[in-house]
């Protein structure tokens, strides 16, 4: 009799464990693919058009500056699209945090091989989903400056984009962190697109201090390579 009760108990416990796994396993759980996902889609990031500027760096001495600037303005939307895509895929969309494959099409040449080793900076990070649930980009705190390197015929032969981007990341535990990404990206033309051939990107994640614990909070700093 006692033995039967034990067996029943073990079976019930096993069922409870399996049920908990299915319910709490998140979107990757087996049941997650059956139950419709009611999560809202990630926000769409876009640079504030007032904060997008263009310029040029001529490679020959005597140029028509108006023509050179016109070229810079013409290529700015394509470069802007690439930078926006990097920030949207790498930072705003939780599904592609830490996913080098999702952004490496934006890169070219030897820079393509550098995406994977730098994925924790070029995106929110491969373990970001352990801490954060979403990232909401600031609608105003972003800037983009596109510089076209131009030849004597006012053709854009290279381009450089300097940008800053700010967003608010919501943590799984309800906390909030301010994410700031700044950088300089160097582009080469690739058909109608522009691809990244070199980059320097800095990222800072700064937890925002809850008002209630403002007097007890302590600050420290760490840096990853």
């Amino acid at each position: 009799m006692a033995r039967r009760r034990i067996i029943v108990g073990v079976v019930i416990a096993a069922i409870v464990i399996v049920a908990l796994f299915l319910l709490l396993g998140g979107k990757d759980s087996p049941i997650g693919s059956i139950i419709p996902n009611n999560e809202p889609p990630p926000p769409e990031f876009a640079f504030n058009h007032k904060h997008v500027t263009s310029g040029f760096e001529a490679t020959v001495a005597k140029v028509d500056k108006d023509k050179q600037l016109k070229t810079a303005k013409q290529i700015t939307p394509a470069v802007q699209t690439a930078v926006t895509s990097l920030l949207q895929t790498g930072y705003v969309d939780p599904d592609t945090w830490g996913d080098a494959g999702a952004i490496d099409d934006l890169f070219t040449g030897t820079a393509k091989d550098q995406v994977e080793p730098n994925v924790d900076t070029l995106t929110l990070g491969s373990t970001a989903a352990d801490t954060y649930e979403s990232l909401d980009p600031s609608a105003s705190a972003n800037h983009l400056k596109v510089i076209a390197m131009t030849d004597g015929n006012a053709n854009a032969i290279r381009a450089m984009a300097t940008f800053d981007f700010t967003g608010k990341a919501t943590q799984s535990d309800g906390g909030v962190a301010k994410v700031t990404v700044t950088g300089t990206l160097f582009f080469v033309p690739d058909g109608n697109d522009w691809k990244i051939e070199a980059f320097r990107v800095q990222r800072e994640i700064k937890p925002m201090q809850p008002k209630s614990s403002a007097t007890t909070a302590t600050a420290s700093s760490s840096e990853s390579p």
């Binding site: 006692a2 033995r3 034990i6 108990g9 073990v10 416990a13 096993a14 409870v16 464990i17 908990l20 709490l24 760096e57 001529a58 490679t59 020959v60 001495a61 040449g109 030897t110 820079a111 550098q114 730098n118 924790d120 900076t121 070029l122 990070g125 510089i147 390197m149 032969i157 290279r158 450089m160 300097t162 535990d173 309800g174 906390g175 300089t184 160097f186 051939e197 070199a198 980059f199 320097r200 990107v201 800095q202 990222r203 800072e204 994640i205 700064k206 937890p207 201090q209 809850p210 614990s213 007890t216 909070a217 302590t218 600050a219 420290s220 700093s221 760490s222 840096e223 990853s224 390579p225």
Partner: protein, 313 residues
């Protein structure tokens, strides 16, 4: 035994249940109880760089053409062999006095600088190749006004003057100075007050180039966008066969190439007269150094004869 098993299973269930309750309650986790205001910073940096064991040679030429005359129609009054070994992260600047009396690729024996006036940059390159045995991958040609304009475009150069130099219309005291384009040109052209005249002038031009490298490295490390400022300033003021791809890779290499790894020397030789011309007879001792340079793109300072590098002051 069975009781123990039951206790473990029930304990596990209780732990999972408790965790679930805490999660559903929206807080109360251990992490939340210990606020961690840690600012996390990360940095990603990549610029394509020259690589490999094969040395790269560039002939740097400064034309004496005056305004209104094309650079390539002038004489190559400043001549430097730039050898680079990407994998060794070493480079060498080997100055050649303009008055070096040599066989020209355009025919005849004359001062080495006259080959460009006779046949353009390619003839000058061919002449230096014949004299040194070094085969050049590229050449760069600039001039007086171009140097001034380029230096001003990057905001001046910080030059560590190794010894006081009395120039044509100003003195450059020993020490670190930020010079504008006019001053850099004046410092680079001065020779009459220098102990070894044209040899020292060539060495000082190497000093300017090494200081420019140091400054570029500092500025590029602080702000990657400075790459375009320097590239633009340079390209607008030179004629060159170096492709833009290679220039960007050179910039990438500069991060691994501090000026301390760049050897600066001038060819050995003696001054003399040929007819009414003041000339330099290059020493046979240069051949061993050119072979060394040609083999791997650099010469270590320890391998330079003491007489080859004039001591400052």
């Amino acid at each position: 035994m069975t009781k123990k098993l039951l206790a473990i299973v029930l304990g596990l269930s209780a732990w999972i249940g408790g965790t679930m309750a805490a999660t559903l309650a929206g807080g109360g986790s251990v992490a939340a109880a210990q606020p961690m205001f840690v600012i996390e910073r990360a940095h990603a940096d990549y610029t394509p760089s020259l690589d490999g064991n094969d040395p790269i040679f560039i002939l740097l030429m400064g034309s004496d053409s005056r305004p209104g005359t094309p650079l390539e129609k002038g004489r190559a009054d400043s001549l430097h062999i730039l050898g680079i070994n990407p994998s060794a992260h070493r480079a060498t600047l080997y100055g050649i006095p303009r008055d070096s009396f040599v066989q020209l690729s355009t025919g005849g024996v004359n001062k080495i600088n006259s080959a460009m006036a006779a046949g353009g940059p390619e003839a000058e390159v061919q002449t230096v190749e014949n004299v040194t045995g070094i085969q050049f991958d590229y050449w760069v040609l600039t001039g007086f006004n171009e140097v001034k304009t380029a230096v001003d475009a990057v905001g001046g150069l910080v030059i560590n003057v190794p010894y006081t130099v009395v120039g044509f219309d100003q003195t450059f005291p020993e020490g670190v100075h930020r010079m504008n384009g006019e001053q850099v040109l004046g410092y680079s052209r001065t020779r009459h007050s220098l102990p070894l005249g044209d040899f020292d002038r060539s060495l000082n031009q190497g000093v300017v180039m090494k200081n420019a490298l140091t400054q570029f490295r500092v500025e590029y490390a602080k702000d990657a966008a400075r790459l375009y400022t320097w590239l633009g300033a340079g390209l607008r003021n030179v004629q060159t066969t170096v492709p833009l791809d290679e220039l960007i890779k050179l910039a990438g290499l500069s991060a691994k190439l501090p000026a301390t790894r760049v050897t600066n020397l001038v060819a050995l030789g003696t001054s003399g007269m040929v007819g009414s011309q003041s000339v330099v007879h290059l020493s046979d001792a240069n051949q061993a150094l050119w072979q060394d340079l040609g083999a791997d793109g650099y010469i270590l300072e320890k391998d330079i004869p003491a007489t080859a590098q004039p001591a400052p002051n």
